[in-house]
């Protein structure tokens, strides 16, 4: 088990290294080069030359890469030249990171709570009306662009019906105390129940929109896995042992069927990060997704650089965690 984790961590470190090279290459191939990218359009020839020397762009590439790595490890990613003009790029990330985590966890929980039971039910009634209906639903779900779904939800439930807030993370009129920047959590810690409830209401619509893709995929994987597992000999053994339906379902069917589901959850974190860029923009939800969206729009490269790096870092770490979980569920991969 320990050896498995160590090996998996070494792989993650390798992936990080290649990632840093890719990011360095990306930075080098920015339009107009690094200097104009970092300085923006207002850079003067003098400041450009100063920056060029400071960045060591006259040095050979490996040296430049080394410097880049050093600065990255020190957290120096430059200063924003987009909407957050003047702020260090890293601060943009740290301030907005909790919002996206909060939203992503909510969306993932939403997707899992519905996708796994529905996938199980569809598999049990394979070929029936419920099964066919939910497959069609999930296929349509994949075909709908996430940001369009977000707009439709916002139009119906916020603009027309007025049930839920159309944008933001919390109503500005609520004077909430923020400790962790996870607004729902903050409200619970400080016992400002209305603040927590309001923050939660702001999560619902973007959460539903964001959960649409993981939902459709987890549903289909669960259904396929349950169908496979139900045909397995050990399920027959469990029935021959006269176990209760509940025990068979949880211990013998779901425990095996969830193995492929867990792997796919890790991959879905990536889709969630990309989806957050789109949904956060629609709902003006001030997380790293919105910052990325604005960064792409305004070509705010210092901010993009740190956010892309961090997004990939999160993705790699989450997948590391998923793989370890996987090893806990499936004893066969440990050895």
């Amino acid at each position: 088990m320990l050896r498995f984790i160590v090996r998996r961590m070494l792989q993650a470190v390798l992936a990080l290294f290649v990632l840093s090279v890719l990011l360095f290459a990306w930075l080098r191939s920015l339009p107009g080069g690094v200097v104009s990218a970092l300085l923006g359009e207002r850079g003067t020839p003098e400041s450009a030359a100063a920056l060029r020397a400071a960045l060591g762009l006259d040095q050979p590439l490996p040296v430049q890469y080394w410097r880049f790595l050093q600065r990255a490890l020190e957290g120096d990613f430059g200063i924003s030249n987009g909407v957050y003009r003047g702020q260090p790029a890293l601060d943009v990330f740290t301030q907005r990171f909790p919002a996206t985590i909060e939203l992503s966890i909510f969306a993932m929980v939403l997707a899992l709570t519905f996708a796994i039971p529905l996938g199980y039910l569809a598999a049990r009634r394979r070929g029936g009306v419920f099964d066919t209906g939910s497959i069609v639903f999930s296929l349509v779900g994949v075909a709908v662009p996430v940001f369009f779904l977000a707009y439709v939800l916002k139009y119906i439930f916020a603009v027309q019906l007025g049930w839920l807030p159309p944008s933001g993370r919390q109503d500005v009129t609520i004077n909430a105390t923020h400790i962790t920047n996870f607004y729902v959590l903050d409200g619970l810690i400080t016992r400002e129940w209305d603040a927590a409830w309001d923050a939660f209401k702001h999560l619902i619509l973007p959460g539903i929109a964001l959960s649409s893709i993981p939902f459709a995929i987890i549903f289909r994987i669960t259904r396929a896995a349950v169908i496979d597992v139900m045909d397995e000999d050990y399920v027959r053994t469990a029935r021959a042992k006269g176990l209760r339906q509940q025990t068979i379902r949880v211990r013998h069917i779901m425990r095996n069927a969830l193995i492929p589901v867990v792997t796919i959850i890790g991959l879905q974190i990536g889709a969630l990060l990309a989806g957050a860029v789109l949904t956060e923009k629609v709902f003006a939800f001030t997380g790293i997704g919105q910052a990325l969206a604005l960064g792409f729009e305004l070509r705010d490269y210092p901010v993009l650089q740190v956010l892309i790096m961090m997004a990939a870092l999160i993705y790699i770490i989450v997948n590391l965690i998923v793989d370890v979980t996987y090893a806990i569920i499936d004893p066969r991969v440990r050895t």
Binding site: D233, Y234, T237, A240, K241, R244, R251, P331, R332
Partner: protein, 361 residues
Amino acid sequence: MTRTATTSTTTGSGSGEPLLSVRDLSVTFGRGRRAFAAVDQVSFDVRPGQTVGLVGESGCGKSVTSLAIMGLLPARGNTVTGEVMFDGQDLLRLSQEQLRERRGSELAMIFQDPLSSLNPVVPLGVQVAEVLQAHKGMKSGPASRKATELLNKVGIPDPTRRLKEYPHQLSGGMRQRALIAMALACEPRLLIADEPTTALDVTIQAQILALLRELVTESGTALIMITHDLGVVAGLCDQVNVLYGGKVVERAERHDLFSRPRHPYTGGLLASIPRLTEERGRRLNPVPGSVADNIPWEGGCAFAPRCASEVEACRSTTPELEPDRDGLGPDRLLRCHHPLEENPLDDIRTHQPEDTEGGPA
């Protein structure tokens, strides 16, 4: 379909009323024109303590019979008719819940492939203890102590350690022993063993069979042994039912069957057992051909196309399962128009170069 269903036979070393009494059991897969009977009007009895063999090639319906008795056939796509009386109740008419209570406690089953029959992600101990928890209402502590005892009993060394291990960490023989431990955990009155040794090495096969024999004798459990291997039958069964194409074609006490097989199919199966005493280089005599998926018994004998002693009647009239008075031993049943007159093994044993009288026509 007007079969004179077997009048119940009174054979077997077991005594008293039958524990299990299967009457005209039929299992049909599919519907309408594509329907085919995997098991066709099968009847037999098992008395307490008796070991009954169901023998035949794959596809003859022996496994389907056992799954039908256990109520383990898939919920859809098949029709089961007939009666399976167990302890005065028809298992086919019990509700799922009533059946579940009996499975694992009064009726137990072990399967062919021990690796795929064990849940790969649950420790062995839990898989043994859960039977006790389900039927004896034991808490997990006592259940796992009992599980240790059981593993010890089936000959698994160091059972406390093994309980924490997963199926892939065990050898094939160990896995089958563990499955036997699970099946016998609640001291069932009937155990069905579906080819329990097929997936194992030859040396392990003998060990597992010896273990089964020992446990069955000790506890007085009745055993239905399903196999394609008459060698297994020879060492274990009191009574043997030979199945072909979903029907019983011959029934006899073990000794009688081996010394005087009557159905040509039984003869073929017997001749295909390898023997150490044989002259080297002699080819084994397998039954030619194989069981086709959909063997029709209508208008003839289903075995006729593969039969060496086929006569004209075999292609026109379906033979009935009738008492066989010419055979050795009491109460034999046979379904054949032209039974064997002598044991094909005699021929082999004496290495007679040319056929003597009365050989297969």
